[in-house]
Symmetry: D2
Subunit: 284 residues, 4 copies
Amino acid sequence: MTEPLILTLSCADRPGITANVTGFLFEHGCNILEAQQFNDRESDRFFMRIEFDPQSSRREDLRADLAAYAARMEMEWNLVRRDRPRRVLFMVSKFDHCLASLLYRWRIGELPLEPVAIVSNHPREAISHTHIGGVPFHHLPVTKDTKSNQEEQVRAIARDTGAELVVLARYMQILSDQQAGHFAGKCINIHHSFLPGFKGAKPYHQAHARGVKMIGATAHYVTTDLDEGPIIHQDVEAISHADNPDDLVRKGRDIESRVLAEAVRLHLEERVLMNGQRTVVFKG
Amino acid sequence: MTEPLILTLSCADRPGITANVTGFLFEHGCNILEAQQFNDRESDRFFMRIEFDPQSSRREDLRADLAAYAARMEMEWNLVRRDRPRRVLFMVSKFDHCLASLLYRWRIGELPLEPVAIVSNHPREAISHTHIGGVPFHHLPVTKDTKSNQEEQVRAIARDTGAELVVLARYMQILSDQQAGHFAGKCINIHHSFLPGFKGAKPYHQAHARGVKMIGATAHYVTTDLDEGPIIHQDVEAISHADNPDDLVRKGRDIESRVLAEAVRLHLEERVLMNGQRTVVFKG
Amino acid sequence: MTEPLILTLSCADRPGITANVTGFLFEHGCNILEAQQFNDRESDRFFMRIEFDPQSSRREDLRADLAAYAARMEMEWNLVRRDRPRRVLFMVSKFDHCLASLLYRWRIGELPLEPVAIVSNHPREAISHTHIGGVPFHHLPVTKDTKSNQEEQVRAIARDTGAELVVLARYMQILSDQQAGHFAGKCINIHHSFLPGFKGAKPYHQAHARGVKMIGATAHYVTTDLDEGPIIHQDVEAISHADNPDDLVRKGRDIESRVLAEAVRLHLEERVLMNGQRTVVFKG
Amino acid sequence: MTEPLILTLSCADRPGITANVTGFLFEHGCNILEAQQFNDRESDRFFMRIEFDPQSSRREDLRADLAAYAARMEMEWNLVRRDRPRRVLFMVSKFDHCLASLLYRWRIGELPLEPVAIVSNHPREAISHTHIGGVPFHHLPVTKDTKSNQEEQVRAIARDTGAELVVLARYMQILSDQQAGHFAGKCINIHHSFLPGFKGAKPYHQAHARGVKMIGATAHYVTTDLDEGPIIHQDVEAISHADNPDDLVRKGRDIESRVLAEAVRLHLEERVLMNGQRTVVFKG
């Protein structure tokens, strides 16, 4: 098998669109390994994800033909190599359980990524529980006055390392609108509540005060609208009256770690497509 | 075994309180069948639920002694017969899945209740899918102008039937502050969202618009503060981008039915104690 | 929109198969509403489910063309009208919670079925908690000696009513091999355990004795191999040491009801395809 | 507050037992922080766990009095300091996700333990993804011929380090009956299936072959009866037809890690009591 490719696309829904797209691939000698589609009857939009073996077809030719084809069909599309690890920049503050979990999953080959940098507003010693190893670590403290400058440094690191995705792994600083806009669609955050409940700071304390019976976590794309970005994945767990805020923080770590890891996996495997303020997630 | 009793109580926490309370019962010849306690270190309050066999002790004597004892200890308390069905008044609008589920559970003996009345703002024909049988049905339509009068009728029915609990089984009218106050602590509502997310009307449509990946339901005591009452039970289920609002409504029915039934069971079995705006739930 | 159709099919996987099938539909003027496929790399088999609007194409012509096409492609296939309720025969013993739940879902239009008969080895009075209404009820008691005869009667009812699906809604009799074979692929059973754990009788008592921390239910197609048929759906719930077998039975009722209802819905919507001893379930 | 103690006990159930035990503590000046009890009506046995502040009472005196008291009451009991980390010996083979997760939880202070040794039948290089740091690592390969000797070495390490708990964190060797007996009640294993389904080797492959719709993991005490020991904790996750055995292994890692960590936490916090072949778990 040649190295498989993944094609994702969206366009206005119309009769014959599946046949048309899959026919295009067949004519180019490609063999589908996995395919999912979603016909959104609300927006009349069509979404598709196809994992395929290009066989003898040359990737450059395929890409050129696809570009022409997609232009005719007024499609948004993306074609990537399935097995090439994506360059990922991690940002973290003091709580490093999400980072530790992501790096472990990378090390055992579960997440197809290449960690190009870890940026923290705390020094490396503060992230002492995580096995950072040789991943470049950048301590970029941030204050009100230096925020703009610090964010520029982050953008520079992202540019220099060719980062394709920024993961906010419990990075407790709010990105400026400029920064959020710069990384739009390429920056995933984990919020430690079941959004839209308990936005903002200290969500576990809010949850305890309200007396809810379940807590959760939400992985979403970062937008300029805080805690309002398109949601990729969520999960929850039951709690009881006996759980104080510290217990919620402990239980929450597990939920946060697995929700963020799953969202990152879904993104890296090109399983998440934007549909306005919502996402289409092809779980496979 | 004599008919078991259930004692629930709360008071300021203090050394020896468990020994004190259980000692009281032992001295009165009572045998504990099940006991749970919660020492809330935040509020320094103690909560306890004890299911016990009173054996040869007379209930009236026990109650009198307990009253004196509780006064000395500055306790809030409640003593009830475990196996006496509680008189319940149900309120429902058009969607009757919660009502149908509750009545089925009553009929097979799962919920220890006696349904004394069903009140609906729709005529009996509108609740056509539920096996109402001989349960008295009251059609009390409500408009802006008649609301006050209608609520008075509901109070009259509750009074005349000796209703001990009012269950809003998808009753789609907002109770007035007066009515909510009247039934305070004795009225359970099911809200079709995972509160505090999506308060108010059409929560499934709100959930769809926001693009969340799970939907839920919340059973809570009714207070004058809409959708803000103490939460008894919650549950959720995963959804996907392919679920339109109608799918959410369908999936939600199951969650609502089981969350409300569980909350009603917990209440009827005296497993729910108030702790300010939150609840202590002794699951057993 | 014309009445939508559902096409399900499976065949050997081969390059271009998706384009081929969807191209066939496009050429016949059909418009896809929803489509899922699964390329099983283990068995090299291809599975597909397509919901489509046939538009102006005549169903008879489509069917004839499809038959010829499928023969050429060596496909197993099925074409049905999406919105035509399927005729379902229910079998039940004494515990009627699954039946009650299924009939309620039918009455409110959640399950697209037409109940053609209820068969029980107990008299109608034993199923007293369910709102049977006008659904024909057949009391067919069964003993060792009469089993063969009773099963013949069931087959006769199924034949006379044109039943397309038999649902064993807690029918506590084991079907003979002959009967299981007769209804192969058209008979769904609910087993009250998380198979393959706790096969056979009294699974909740087995679960309690083993001390598991979760109980579950399994909906599967009936085969001659008891409790070994292809699984359609499963779910579980946490339990604790404090749950005695009666508690498990109570908690289990909810799981059984929703697992069976979901399996029946998936089957009725043609979302379940056989893949040897396993199933492909296109959840939608 | 003095350092809290935890008392766990079990004895024949009898009237006044709660008052008796809590009275004993009150007379010794102890203040209860958290208490749970379970009256097992099946076995007529009483189980209790009490977390308390001994205040001015001296631990040695309390222990002596308790011993005398427990002898009179024919109680099994255990009294431990709540905040003293327990010495834990980990055993692991090649898959180190459970070990990595446990060590991380230890490092951030989530699990109150002191890792005294890691024993593996593979060399340290094989466990390359885990941040072992300064924890003593023992490579003890095992073959059929050396097994008895290797197990003796493990016992020696346990003895020399004063290990109080052995955690089999995906240790893929079956302990001999002698070894299992030696560590009885002090050795927790994680089995990668929802027991009693799929005992023995390669449970994910078994699960895939059977076509179940959920997979799980089970943490249990090791006994001489393989995969039959008392269960402490279990959890599951939904899977689909599209998950091949490798996907199950990946999804399973998360379940295994959190189920084992939770079981270890429950054990370390003295929340697990034996009740024959089953456990009483006071979740708190």
